[in-house]
């Protein structure tokens, strides 16, 4: 059973968080994340972008409001430095198993087809941390990818 749990716009956050070449043109992207039925409590999810060499560019979204647990999102933490200010204003509730999180983002044109990578870290209490559960290139054509432990499927299209 899936439910629509989140619809939002993250344009302001991105503009502040990502230092991007030529932020003139932007496009709207709908990012859908379906969680698997992994048999645990709500999952913390960190969505962030790096360049091809792994250099952190910025965070798109954080599901899970308690910064003391961010250390369990170790991919995001290592990339971003783990500063809660990185996700200030772009934070929502953790996502229950079997639920679907839908994010609507305004992303700069220059991010697409330029080697940038979208990463998702996941963590659930009492269960194994899953850093970098998903890493997919940002392409104008959109992507649909299968996850590992907690994420059943992630897709985005512009």
């Amino acid at each position: 059973m899936t439910t629509l749990s989140q619809v939002l716009t993250a344009s302001t956050a991105l503009a502040g968080a990502l230092v991007l070449p030529g932020l003139a043109e932007a496009r709207q992207v709908t990012l859908t994340t379906e969680l698997a039925n992994y048999g645990g409590d709500g999952a913390y999810l960190a969505f962030y972008v790096t360049d091809a060499s792994g250099k952190y560019m910025g965070s798109l979204w954080m599901s899970g409001g308690r910064s003391k647990y961010y250390r369990h999102l170790s991919g995001w933490e290592q990339a971003s430095g783990g500063d809660p200010a990185e996700v200030a204003g772009i934070t929502g509730a953790s996502v229950g198993q079997g639920q679907t999180l839908t994010l609507t983002l305004d992303l700069a044109d220059s991010l697409f087809d330029a080697g940038y990578v979208l990463h998702v870290d996941a963590a659930v209490e009492h269960m194994r941390d899953s850093p970098d559960e998903i890493a997919v290139p940002l392409t104008a054509a959109g992507v649909s990818a299968k996850g590992g432990t907690y994420i059943a499927k992630l897709s985005y299209k512009s």
């Binding site: 048999g39 645990g40 409590d41 308690r66 003391k68 170790s74 933490e77 290592q78 430095g81 194994r128």
Partner: protein, 708 residues
Amino acid sequence: MTRPLHRFTGLILGLFLTVVALSGAALSVLPALESWGAGGLDMTAAELVSRVTAANPGVEEILVSAAGRVTAYTADATLVVDPVTGAGSPVPAPGAWVTWAENLHRSLFLGDAGRIAVAVLAAAMLGLSATGLRLLARRAGGWRAVLAPQKGRGWARTHAEVARAAALALVLSSLTGLWMTASTFDLLPAAESPDFPAQVSGLTGAALPLDFPASQLRDLTFPRDAQDAFALTTTEGSGYIDQGTGATLAWVAPTWADRVSAWAQLLHTGQGAAVLGLVLGLAALTTPFLAVSGALMRSLGRRQSFASAQAADTVILVGSEGGSTWGFAQTLARALRAKGGQPHLAPLSDFAPETWPQAKRLLVLTATYGDGEAPASAGDVLSRIKTLPKAPAIPLAVLGFGDRSFPRFCAFAEELAAAAHAKGWPRLMPLASVDRQSAQDFARWGRDLGAALGMELSLDHEAPLPATDRLALISRRDYGADLQMPAAILRFAAPKRGLWARLTGQGAFQPGDLLGILPEGSTVPRFYSLASGSRDGFVEICIRRHEGGLCSGQLHAMKPGDQVRAFVRPNPAFHAGDRPLILIGAGTGIGPLAGIIRGARQPARLFFGMRHAASDYYYAEDLAEWQAQGRLTGLHLAFSRGNRPHYVQDALRLEAEALREAVARGARIMVCGGREMGAGVRATLSDILSPLTLDRLAKEGRYAEDTY
């Protein structure tokens, strides 16, 4: 304020506390299940890691719980590892109920608002424990008496005893729970997580610095590639280790708050202390019982009031703790109404003379709480009487209810009467008392009241009876036929108790408890002290047939196989306890004392007064046998018939030195027999033990009397 605060908090929050407590109790079994069969971790972390990696190729992370459970993660499996062999086996995912119970326990499924609500409940539990402890001390008659066996009976006593047993655990659970909430809301100075090192050597294959005990390891995450590092968490902090050099690249030690949090976690969840977890869980199970018994105690306070305060010609105020005094007051009110009166019945806390315009008299019926304090329904009436500008004109009568075996019998009634007298309040009748709910005492007072009011007043109080059992006589031993003093030791089959009753102690009794017997053709029970405990497997009493006595006549006429209706009333004031015993009895008063010797683990010496060895030496064979077995360390007999009349008091005087010594060593004195003999023994003991007083001993639970 303590009592209303305790009651209202309990009544309002009882249900929610029950939900949190029961979910906590359910979760408390998890650490025990987890540590079941977990091997010891008596190795270094390095050894553990090498065993695990050798036995399980592709390990990416090793986790050690505070309980000592080792878990290894590979790319596609979660394995529980035997730390001795390193062998891993797949672990089942935790049941969905665990997540459900955790969310209920922490937040009532209400997210952060729920977490705050549960924290408020934990604080309320602390408040309930503090106020409850104060009430317990007041009830018991002082802080020292809190740990002594509790007096009284019914819900109030069970509530007190259960709460006392669980209090420490409930306080511990609440305090640690509050701490954990503070930690969740980031209110404590927790350590930051370590920064990932800016530079790694890029090499691999170093030996890791893991020469500490494996039990201190918490997590080791293996590097994903050459640019990654080992992430290590121990009880002493967390950081990153270079995979090429083994050097610690970043390290953060826990703060004092982190260390306290680790302890709070251990104490609250039992993870790492499974037995403690189970104990806390068991204690949590008492919460619903405490909520219900507390609520029942409260509902006993609401009663019919008869005429209104405005219209009443007689105001009856009741100071009651458990509720039995209300029954007497209702009998009184009904009798007055039957005579055409307009009685108004109210709790003593409703004391307000200005609201009784028509009243011609005030009757106060009051019990005493603990060591002379006001009972539940009395409120602060004493200070209100003391601060009255002037005494009311209507005359006052005070009737105290209590138990003579308590150190301060009817002390609150006495204090109240004295305060009224000091105010110059006119007296309708002198202070009187009712011992152990005696219907006879009450009827006598009723006749005196009738005389004072110029009417015939007959108070037939029938206390509501507990359910009775039919006891069948198994055997009897007869005495005293030749002295025209027929007496017998009657042994009945013990009533059958179900498994549940056995487990919960329902229907259990001890020597010294009372057996209420309902004779044929009467609804008023007669009480006899029990000479056996439920462990003996039979019910025994020692009775003497009284001239014209309905009950003793019927009992004495019983043949084996005959049945009688009976019930047990607890009398914890006359239980053996565990101190060495000095038992003093005369006549059939030997019954409970013999029962106590039969069941006692501690040494006992007995002073036994009788008329003649040939007529009323009850239990002679048993006493000889117990003496031979060494459980009866001294037997001092006194015969009042014969050439040299000798009473039990004389036997005590002969042993004065030994008695003083035994009391100095902490012995408990128990006296059972007729009221006259009781008075004589009391005087003699006061002499012998001076300057130590019997009051003092009674307060320490070292002097108990059961006289009739």
